[in-house]
Symmetry: C2
Subunit: 387 residues, 2 copies
DNA sequence: CACGATCCTGCAAAGGTTTGCAATGAAGTA
DNA sequence: TACTTCATTGCAAACCTTTGCAGGATCGTG
């Protein structure tokens, strides 16, 4: 139908010049038809558009990027795609980006800080900004890299940089309070990667909550934030004598339950387990996992928005050199904290100090605890702070 | 440390020209230092490299792409990132690409054929090739798009295009034979998306195997290839009276098990269930899922290799117009079929026609069936066909 | 010494697009 | 009529890199 391809099946690139020739105008007019339509006569515009459509013209983004300094791409650096926590985030970020005519480079670092740094360098020239999701490198390195390319950080607090955070502190507190309420007094926290901000936050909040509730918190870790990371500490958990565990994430919680099962320890009858993230999987295991739901989709969308907003006012490879940017206006540093929610399912049950309010409440009825509201209620709280 | 950034924290792009000035050579020498090092005097080379390092120079890929016609990027179009089948594939593809100095654009289509087409168009100019994973659009459209940009198709057979296939036919046959061997005669196939090649292959092979083994196969579907897609048909499965089910994928199988459980139907005691994919999750549910393991990682790597191999010989935006490409050498059409393996776990058990060889063999012992070999043995069979 | 070969380097064009500036013409104003 | 304003379009430089071609230097050989 179109003249885009020769009959031989080899693509013939059609440029702005071809469209210009076909519609009898100068290339600059064609360019403007696409990038500044209001500057061209409506009649001309429709003619040019018709020709472009006809020829199957699509602007060459590399050329456009070369001169404008903006690629209309963003980078997404992920600690581990195989961790089910991330795909919903990627999906949301990608959708939001596409919605604003941006494309997304995804890179997986395998939880390796060195790979993170390399990838930022590699991506810097091809993208207008980078989303750093759960980075494992040092804050100072992140700050340094942020001079090379606009950065938005997810699940990490870096002063001076825009961040999207999930309130895992609040989540951990809810979880500990829930466990204490069930009558648990000896609780273990299954730590995640040492360099994880989330990990530190959880630990801080969980300690405080345990202290406040008169429970003792044992910290086990650091561990790999995976299912094997969880199952590996099952023996240790049993020996520690705790009756409840809060795990760094759902994957570890599930692994732990598996591991305990293999040791003949039953969940939640003997040990209660709480995860974090509310990945799809947590609804499908048996017992269904009690967990702190994190708003991953909202995080992805918000992060993209923040990046683009930051980007729009600074056309990077600009012509006039930066003498005019005296004020620190350029970088608006906002930090957004998203709320988390405890979702109570079947992996938590009464502990040794449970008050027998309803004496021996049906311990094996179907679905003992039911979440109050609908599935995953998540509310986003924007909290912008000017730099 | 470097002169890359001003103290103000705003990136100052450093180009080949800056390096040339600093090292006292012409820009073309700098260029050659990076793209054809053997053409430049070793002494000069080290000096240039030192200056480049010092200034923090990184080649601008957009400019390079503009002139060479090669972006060193590839596109990865995925039906649904949230489906745990894909992340390992993405991860493998991404690793392989990076290993060859390529970057990966990932796009999610939400199982929408229209989105697929749009994304191919959008990506075409920014990448050297596209991997189409489990596409839902028509074969003819795929062929048409392949004229715009080199394509490699995963999980779909398109004549004339390089494809990476997983032998789900073989997998389905093994599964059916396994079920028949256990004494099942009424078996249901839970179909996936109508436009899925995998779906058709499974159906074909499962029918044949059932017929050959004297069992009756009921096809239920099409269904959404998700956990809800599986749980939604639980009632239908129960009514159909079959004693075993082969599901389109693990997600559906798990959903079905959940759904059956809710109806009070026990797996594997009353109904046996087999999935496909061997996603991580399938080892973590209870009962652990018997499933057909697909080599997703190998598929990702192979697909990238095939794409790059195809690409290397055709520098797209070449200067000399294509008069010289008379022969069909340009497109080497290979199809690779990767083997699948049945992994027997706990979701399958004896059926109504089981021979009581060992009378009433321990129906609830821990881990009744064990996979024979190691985890997921996968062998790749290359099968190159010249066009 | 003359000649050719070899190695290295510089020159300049090219790639597709954007954009400041200038030119054109039409319309409006004094 | 003369002048200004405005809308529309063309011109050409610029973005950064690659690469064919040619020039220069050095060296070996006849």
């Amino acid at each position: 139908m179109t003249a885009t391809t020769s009959d031989e099946g080899v693509a013939v690139p059609v440029t702005i010049r071809d469209v210009a020739r076909a519609s009898g105008v100068h290339i600059s007019t064609v360019s403007r038809t696409f990038s500044a339509p209001h500057l061209v006569n409506p009649e001309t515009r429709v003619r040019v558009l018709a020709c472009a459509e006809d020829l199957g013209y699509r602007p060459n983004r590399a050329a456009r990027a070369l001169i404008t300094g903006r690629t209309h791409n963003i980078g997404l650096i992920i600690a581990d795609i195989a961790n089910p926590f991330f795909p919903p985030l990627i999906k949301a970020a990608e959708g939001q980006a596409r919605h604003r005519d941006y494309h997304v480079f995804v890179a997986d670092t395998n939880e390796d800080p060195t790979a993170e740094e390399e990838l930022v360098h590699a991506l810097a020239k091809q993208v207008d900004g980078v989303l750093l999701c759960s980075p494992r490198m040092s804050n100072s390195l992140i700050e340094q890299l942020s001079r090379e390319v606009p950065l938005v950080v997810v699940n990490r607090q870096v002063t001076g940089l825009p961040c999207v955070l999930m309130d895992v502190g609040q989540g951990a507190r809810s979880a500990i309070e829930h466990l204490i309420g069930l009558g648990h007094r000896g609780i273990a926290l299954l730590g995640g990667p040492r360099s994880s901000w989330t990990n530190r936050e959880m630990r801080r909040a969980a300690s405080a909550a345990a202290r406040a509730g008169g429970a003792e918190l044992t910290v086990l870790g650091p561990n790999a934030p995976t299912e094997v990371g969880g199952s590996a500490v099952a023996e240790q958990v049993r020996r520690s004598g705790v009756s409840a565990v809060l795990a760094y994430n759902d994957l570890m919680a599930i692994g732990l339950i598996e591991g305990l099962d293999a040791l003949g320890v039953r969940v939640p009858q003997e040990v209660s387990v709480v995860g974090v993230d509310d990945i799809t999987l947590s609804r499908l295991t048996r017992p269904k996992l009690t967990t702190v739901a994190t708003p991953t989709g909202a995080a992805g969308r918000t992060a993209v928005d923040m990046l683009l907003q930051q980007d729009i006012e600074s056309p990077r490879g600009a012509r006039g050199s930066g003498a005019g940017t005296a004020l620190g206006v350029r970088r608006t540093t906002a930090q957004v904290m998203l709320q988390t929610d405890l979702v109570i399912r079947d992996s938590t049950g009464p502990g040794p100090y449970a008050r027998p309010a309803r004496p021996l409440a049906a311990p094996r009825g179907p679905d003992p605890h039911c979440p109050a509201g609908p599935g995953i209620p998540t509310a986003a709280t924007g909290d912008a702070v000017a730099s």
